[in-house]
Symmetry: C2
């Protein structure tokens, strides 16, 4: 019987090779031309679950991308942990900003560079390898279920139905997700909240066709200019979001809670230097940790209209577009926020343009408990692996499905993430530290061990 | 000896066929991948000039696209007319908005649909066919020179050098350009002014890489949002351009001049219906005819940044861009305006972003005289061909090279345009009326006849 540390040491090359195969699939869920790669990725995940020892492995069809399921029921009287992850990835563009191709994983300075390295292939695959260790070394102290989906990056549109239709199969005592980050390898942390999301696309139409900007310019509203004016008005001079009712349901933290939050290590100069900015931005009256953790935001994720090719074209465009997403905090509700945005945007649009607001997807904010057995088990596992007690933080990202699990399966989630904020998630040159990957594989069996012990 | 009317009638099918060949070349100057098509187009134009009877025909190389030259000197004591036109065209995108392919000319409802149909292939080719008529029927009463260039749509960067280096060869008494529009076939008109142009590209950089909008959103300035705010601030609440000094050199027309200008037929309801807009836009205190003729403008010709593909991507982009052009009126100067824009834009950019303003190209506004022999000849020619006296108008477009001709060759220009404002220049479904094309060929020899007579 090997310890997990020994097992990881003697298998690490293979663990990396397998992850590299997984990373080579361009499983981009936002673009339908990758449908075939999505299916190949799901099949690969299913094969690896089987090889590791899972039963009932199935690539479950949905109306969208398939969900990979697998389980190992050791003893029905033991607690059951459900591992959730996603094998789909964000689009890789702008491609020209990648130093090495996004789907050719490459190691530099101890990091694996590839789209999906940290989000979430590198992180969910740790669980399959940790499971392999526990199976081979008779160390699986809980029942385990895997649910690895393929639409997380596009709003998990079909996971809700799957969960509702498979409540018995998915029944569990706690959900573990490794799709978040920790402060550093020197200072482990556990995210105890995630922001929700409301994502919309707006279309502003001026004239019924592109016009010559000389012949018509000056007399006809330019939808790109009007879109700029509309977007500009969405934040006031204090960077508050200027949508009526937007903050109505925001829970303000107490002074004590805010102070505790701001005790996390944060060096503003390092932060600015890493990002290459001279000054930070943000809602007046809050710190950067609060801006990215406990405050809602509104971001333009994409904007386009008119001629965007090489050289100059003197066109007054017929249309301009933007993709806009809002991160939500407790107790904001994504449907209500989407509704408020749409209503406001339509109201402020002047009569010389038409606007259409199309909701993309949403998700609810969550706060996870820090007094549960699962949280304590995670805390102990991290402390043993990293030799330092993890501190709780509030994550700025969103895993919209966490709120759904809570509602449909009536269980809480532990966010056992091993990434770093600097991993370039959703950006060119996404990376994941080899040490984060291997330490993650080491930590997970400890979590199972302590969770079983605490449940006794 | 045939009259021009008879000649056009008996040759009109061939005139259309030849134009169609010319229109099939995708001679897009803004995109370097069409270099070969550009050269083919220039060679075709040269061949047709030779066939029509021109001497000294040459495809003259420049640092950019070639200039086609040809001439016919009947008698050095006669006046010389220089015909200027351009064989390059605007990009055709967005392609999906064309009802028929842009480089497959198609006739519908008496109009030729193709990129360049009116701007400027259909219009300069009328001159080659009118020249052919005059040569075959011994009707050429002036000397004629042709200069057809291939970079008008990208700022005629190399024409200036060519003109300066070929002053003797290009020597002439008047320049005729058919690259503008008339009010209608029922109401001919002559443009007596053109707006100048200052075209810039702006780049706004926030963080040094695309960021996850959840992890960083709220604490880091989003360059797309900031670009929107900067663009929004460029027009005030009265749609005046808010760049300090922008209006300093604008010549305000007298009340009488403005009244004369506004006497041109203009039906605001038809105009709105044609464009599909509920309300017009524009600088407070001026009419649409003034907005598009005698007032300067600032238009966003293109804007882009972040994720603009299918679906949703939660990215906080590193960069956002816009192409912005300003139309100028007498006595604004394009270099000064470009400088004012750049200075202002850099000054208003907040410290959390960096901005770079890159000038594309410019051109000076012009006003052409209405008391010259050439204008009077054009007036008579139009009146004879259309049975109605043309009225003078002010064009909103720009042919930057007109000011250069005036400066370098010390001659004035007549803007003998046969297009219509509704021809969709620079837009999908560009078109040119067959009647406009044939009437143009009929009118041009009359201009030569009257110009020679007035010069006697």
């Amino acid at each position: 019987m090997l310890t997990v540390k020994e097992y990881v040491q003697s298998n690490k090359d293979r663990f990396l090779e397998e992850l590299f195969i997984l990373l080579r699939f361009p499983s981009i869920s936002a673009d339908s031309k990758y449908k075939e790669d999505i299916v190949k990725t799901a099949n690969f995940v299913a094969d690896k679950l089987k090889e590791a020892g899972a039963d009932e492995v199935e690539v479950c069809p949905t109306a969208g991308n398939p969900i990979v399921y697998g389980e190992k029921i050791v003893d029905p009287s033991l607690p059951t942990v459900l591992v959730y992850g996603h094998y789909d990835v964000q689009p890789a563009d702008p491609l020209e900003l990648w130093d090495t191709p996004p789907f050719e994983p490459t190691i530099r300075d101890g990091k694996i560079y590839a789209r999906g390295a940290a989000d979430d292939k590198g992180q969910f695959y740790m669980h399959i390898k940790a499971f392999e260790y526990m199976m081979k070394n008779n160390a699986l102290a809980c029942n385990i279920k895997f649910m690895i989906e393929g639409e997380e990056e596009v709003g998990s549109a079909n996971l809700g139905t799957f969960v509702k239709e498979n409540k018995a199969r998915l029944k569990n005592d706690v959900i573990v997700i490794s799709d978040t980050s920790m402060i550093s390898l020197e200072q482990p942390s556990l995210e105890t909240g995630l922001r929700g999301l409301s994502y919309v696309e707006v279309e502003v139409t001026g004239p019924n066709r592109d016009l010559h900007s000389g012949v018509y310019g000056g007399a006809v509203a330019n939808p790109a200019t009007i879109l700029a004016k509309l977007i500009a008005s969405l934040h006031d001079e204090n960077n508050h979001i200027a949508i009526p009712g937007f903050y109505d349901d925001v829970v303000e933290l107490s002074q004590e809670e805010r102070e505790a939050l701001n005790k996390a290590p944060f060096d503003i100069d390092e932060y600015k230097a890493d990002l290459g900015v001279e000054e930070l931005w943000g809602e007046k009256g809050y710190t950067p940790i609060e801006h990215t953790g406990i405050r809602p935001t509104l971001e333009v994720n994409g904007i386009w209209g008119g001629y965007i090719g090489e050289g100059a074209k003197t066109v007054l465009p017929a249309k301009a577009y933007a993709k806009i997403s809002m991160r939500l905090v407790p107790n904001q509700n994504s449907e209500r926020i989407t509704h408020l945005f749409k209503k406001h945007f339509e109201e402020i649009a002047p009569a010389y343009v038409k606007v259409v607001v199309t909701p993309h997807h949403g998700g609810e904010p969550v706060v996870t408990p820090t007094d549960s057995m699962a949280y304590q088990a995670a805390e102990r596992a991290l402390e043993e692996a990293f030799h330092k007690k993890p501190i709780p933080t509030r994550g700025g990202g969103s895993i919209p499905i966490v709120a759904l699990f809570e509602k449909e399966l009536n269980v809480k989630t532990v966010l056992l993430g091993f990434g770093l904020d600097s991993d370039n998630l959703h950006s060119p040159n996404e990376k994941y530290g080899i040490e984060n990957y291997l330490k993650g594989i080491e930590t997970i069996p400890l979590f199972f061990k302590y969770y079983a012990e605490l449940n006794k």
